[in-house]
Amino acid sequence: MGKNLYQKVWDDHLVGTLENRQCQVFMALHLIHEVTSPQAFGMLKDKGLKVAFPERTFATVDHIIPTDDQSRPFQDEMADRMISVLAESTQTHGIEFFQPNSGSQGIVHVVGPELGLTQPGMTICCGDSHTSTHGAFGCIALGIGTSQVRDVLASQTLAMDPLKVRRIEVQGTLGPGVTAKDVTLHIIRTLGVNGGVGFAYEYAGPVIDQMTMEERMTVCNMSIEGGARCGYINPDQTTFDYLKGRERVPQDAAFEAAVERWASYASDADASYDDIVIIDGGEIEPTVTWGVTPGQAINVRERVPDPSTVSGLDQELMSDALRYMQLEPGAPIAGTAIDVAFIGSCTNGRISDFQAVAQVIKGHRVADGVRAIAVPGSEKVDAEARALGLDQVFTEAGFEWRLPGCSMCLAMNPDKLVGDEVCASSSNRNFMGRQGSATGRTILMSPVMVAASAVSGCVADARVVFGLEQSS
């Protein structure tokens, strides 16, 4: 019986077994940012410890950075202090820091792949749950807490229990106007927000095989929203083509050697799995959330569920979610008025996301009364978008084109919902209060769906608004 990628990468990075029988696992790459690492550096200092492998550690700022004016000091004193602490800590410990205006700053999960730091077969960790994004390259990529950030800084290892592996095969082909975001929302809707607890997800099948790397990142990004500890896709030619020539990737002959090594991590054809789930890609439609977890999702043509059709706790949860969202049971989700449209985040803030929207939004205008912002995921995405004139296209359509950062994904910077505003968002979480207002409402969807909703002033089917059905 062969091995799957998870087993191969795990075995390759295993240092030993701890007394409580947890495994000690080496982390090939450690990414840090300003929210979850300052405290870890403080803990190191308290213990008089040094960073063991500064050359395997990279820092960026993303969560708290303003997206309108990034000149220092920021208006928000604490935000400014957090960046200063990160700058000092990285300098003290000899860690490379992608500062604003360095040309490399951006959301940590956008930066790693685009620089080529993220490479197949690695164990990667970061004090951020969406580290699962990097799994798109065939990595075991784990979100960790601050004490674990401390552990990795000090030892480059983590104490971990092994995971089970569930293979999710997405068969068939996607319909026109159906995107990677819809695939991941559909999977979470199908398996539940805690369906993945204890698992690493291996995404496979023709739909995944045909995806670009950026689409694969969107899928892996949301593994965590389905409860999985991480998600990955086996490295293939698409992966190697993406990595070729990237800044931090071996070049020339060394690249060929690296490809050979990378390819060897892919799951064997006869690998075993703890579970296999088959999803029919042809059934997936543009998907939007109606509730307060990413699993509370329906396709855009469906109606909001009616709590009276379920019982017990489910009924309670559904009623609470609908009350919070101020949605009528049984009403169509399409047509729900929106106040804000947000395109960005580590889920959908990459160049292809903006290209996809630019392609359809030309000639359309954001509806009156809708505040629409587009926030590139990194300085590189921003530069590329500008070089292609995408910022123009967005601005002409009535979007504001902002500077890179996490922005309204979790609103730790000044980009926030106000009161109970409804936001059509390309991000990954629709938790209560997620976008900066305790009563703010988030409806998750793909970037083209956000664009369709922005121009319609309400949740709308991109296939209809942009005539995508005919175009295929």
């Binding site: 240092v15 979850t36 492998f53 957090m82 601050t146 730790m412």
Partner: protein
Amino acid sequence: MSDLHQRSGRAVYVPGNDIDTDRIIPARFLKCVTFDELGPALFYDERFESEGASKGHVLDAPQHAGASVLISDVNFGCGSSREHAPQALQKFGFKVVIAESFAEIFHGNCTTLGIPCLKMAAEPRGMLADLVTQLPEAEMLIDLQTKTLIFANQSFNFDMLESSREAFLSGRFDPLDELLVAKSKIAEVAARLGNVSMSR
């Protein structure tokens, strides 16, 4: 060694499934460079109106003041990996969390901080929650060795992730010292994996 396997304290029931880390500690409180001030912000948006007036949340009920055992429902602590959530619970005074299930990263963070996460099925948990609500002054006695807890003269069984239970029983829930022991083995793995030409 009894202090390692026992916990005791008064309890409070905060009902809800899928209580995520943003609810446990709203994102705006994540702006900090130490965790010291997080306690009062625990469940802030559920406890207070935007102007700061109390909403009469159970955590603020006088009879539950000083409770150190938190009982909740399914998939507690889902959402973000940030340790601010367990840190806020700990700073608020919680030493144990009981739920039907826990999100994994949250669970791991709790263990490292020394907060045991006890798993209890819906039915006994419902009974326990009712009792706790009726008898807010009563002490709960938790035994990690036998995986039982005693409350109001009734005994309840719970489950725990075995590696985490062992970590608590041995007092080694913070793995850092042990991780550092393997220095030469770590260097070996690092060398074998090679420099991936990442740094400039």
